[in-house]
């Protein structure tokens, strides 16, 4: 199984009814207005947004003129790929403890992604501490504890309703004292337009810094792969508040295409680190722009 098989499978199902096969639609086509409009449709329907779509199509037109008899679809794939940065997450950190803070809006897959990431670190022989920093949502702590037990990670939790920053502090302190390798901090889902909740994230960062002067090593924003243009607003707001260093796009095992990745990379320069392709602990994949663009456009190697 290729790493993007789950993503492809979902998209194939989508294409069968929506476009037929993209490859056959475009076979032998030149880049006329009709083809451009069809490509626009495909890109906008992937949640790429109008602006980025126009930009990419403009580039496509320019390149097409210069390069005779090339397949417009392959050209498009190459241009799309160029528009994505590839910076994988550090799965073998030497720094100890390596601290990752996970943030995002409600229900997009933060807690599950933490379990998946922890699972990868554990497979790499690292010891992992999970901080149950969602002290707000009903049974969020139980959910994280369940995962901790399942994959063999220690969970540091306080009472429901307690201070999230205090949980993060305890987890980091514990990891430092016991020589643990990685700390993953879960946080409650919060909408980026609620400033009081966003402030809470700053406090978590500050408090961790008290224990570890170098502070948090990676701040991951989780983004639901079905999200539309609001994803850009989310990324902007979280970036301003806690300086996001990477993004994980989840739920790409459905038929959503996660085109918002392009807009975010384009506007904000935050790399997409991983993608989530299911609800199990193994369903996390590195983000590989080439394979992603192939899958999105229905191209095979």
């Amino acid at each position: 199984m290729g790493i993007f098989d789950k993503f492809k499978k979902g998209l194939e199902k989508a294409r069968n009814t929506f476009f037929g096969s993209i490859k056959t639609i475009f076979a032998g086509k030149t880049l006329d207005d009709e083809t451009l409009e069809e490509l626009e449709e495909i890109l906008v329907m992937s949640d790429m947004g109008v602006e980025v779509t126009q930009k990419i199509l403009k580039e496509l037109k320019e390149f097409y003129k210069k390069s005779d008899d090339s397949d417009p679809l392959i050209l498009l794939r190459d241009i799309m790929e160029e528009n994505l940065t590839n910076e994988p997450i550090n799965l073998n950190p030497t720094k100890k403890p390596y601290v990752i803070l996970v943030v995002g809006v409600n229900g997009n897959g933060k807690t599950t992604t933490i379990a998946k990431l922890a699972n990868q670190y554990i497979k790499n022989g690292k010891s992992v501490v999970l901080a149950a920093g969602d002290t707000f949502r009903a049974a969020a702590i139980e959910q994280l504890k369940h995962w901790g037990e399942k994959i063999g990670a220690e969970v540091i939790a306080h009472e429901h309703g307690s201070d999230a920053a205090a949980v993060a502090f305890d987890a980091v302190k514990h990891a430092k004292a016991k020589g643990k390798d990685v700390v993953l901090i879960d946080t409650a889902g919060r909408l980026h337009n609620k400033s009081n909740l966003m402030e809470e994230l700053k406090k978590i960062k500050r408090v961790v810094q008290k224990e570890l002067p170098e502070g948090i090593d990676e701040t991951l924003l989780i983004l639901d792969g079905t999200t539309g243009q609001n994803g850009i607003v989310q990324a902007k707001a979280f970036k301003e508040t806690v300086d996001i260093t990477g993004i994980v796009i989840t739920k790409l095992d459905g038929t959503a295409k996660g085109g918002i990745a392009f807009a975010i990379d384009h506007d904000l320069n935050i790399p997409i680190r991983m993608i989530g392709v299911g609800e199990k602990e193994d369903d996390l994949q590195p983000f590989v722009p080439h394979e992603y663009c192939d899958a999105l456009l229905g191209l095979e190697e």
């Binding site: 449709e41 906008v44 329907m45 409600n106 229900g107 539309g228 459905g254 038929t255 918002i260």
Partner: protein
Amino acid sequence: MFENIQKKFSLAFKNLSGKGKISEKNIKDAVKEVKLSLLEADVNYKVVKNFIDSVKEKALGEKVLESLTPDQEFIRILKNELIELMGGKEPEKLVISRNPGYIMLVGLQGSGKTTSAAKLAKMYKEKGKKPLLVAADTYRPAAIDQLITLGTQIDVPVFSGDKVNARKIVKEAKNYAEKMLHDIVIIDTAGRLHIDDDMMKELEDIKNYIKPEEILMVVDSMMGQDAVRTAKDFNDRLELNGFIVTKLDGDSRGGVIISIRHVTGKPIKLAGTGEKIVALEPFYADRYAGRILGMGDVLSLIEKV
């Protein structure tokens, strides 16, 4: 982003004013801006095309009301069409006539089903009903704990049976509800993908057994272009009665509302507007029309005419 769109709109409409009728030519720019605005609001690409065509058809040749300039006239038609598409001005009610009446919540992962189930239970409890919550999500870690916690907060019992088999839990919940004289039964189900055949089959089986009067799909208002497809698939398999659109306390433009409504013809019945258990409201289409268009001020101006 908002101001930007409004600026573009007023520019686009400038060339309409002072003319008696709306013509293809003098709405060309405006149509383009509307299209862009709807796409930026995440209305599905194909739905936008259909919508624009129908508004254009209505607007062309239309005489302009004396109190309005042609641009405002165009917006008026546009807005009315939008509200029409979104389901009219009056919110659609949930219809429960049997005793007990069954409500089933379905949808993608993380859309807000469990929270909405608790909100609905609270709503009915406040109306003097005796609701029962049924925890039929046997997959997601701690999903049952989550519903039990919420049930405790609002003092509504939660039935969770063997916690393993969703079909069996629902069957037993029926007996339990009848025995305990509950008049409303709200079933929370696991989040699932519309392309997951086994999981969709589970919902069909539950539906066929319990025959709910209301099967509501819970949809995240931040969703993008794929909403059309998921809503269509859920509706094809389950014949939905309507939708609950959640997380409307955020700042997404909510184009998903138009998309799902257009593709299924089913109404949005309720709006989720917060994480608290009281944050559930009837869905007023006219409130969201301006938000989707991103031109609230312009619309309220016309409202006063």
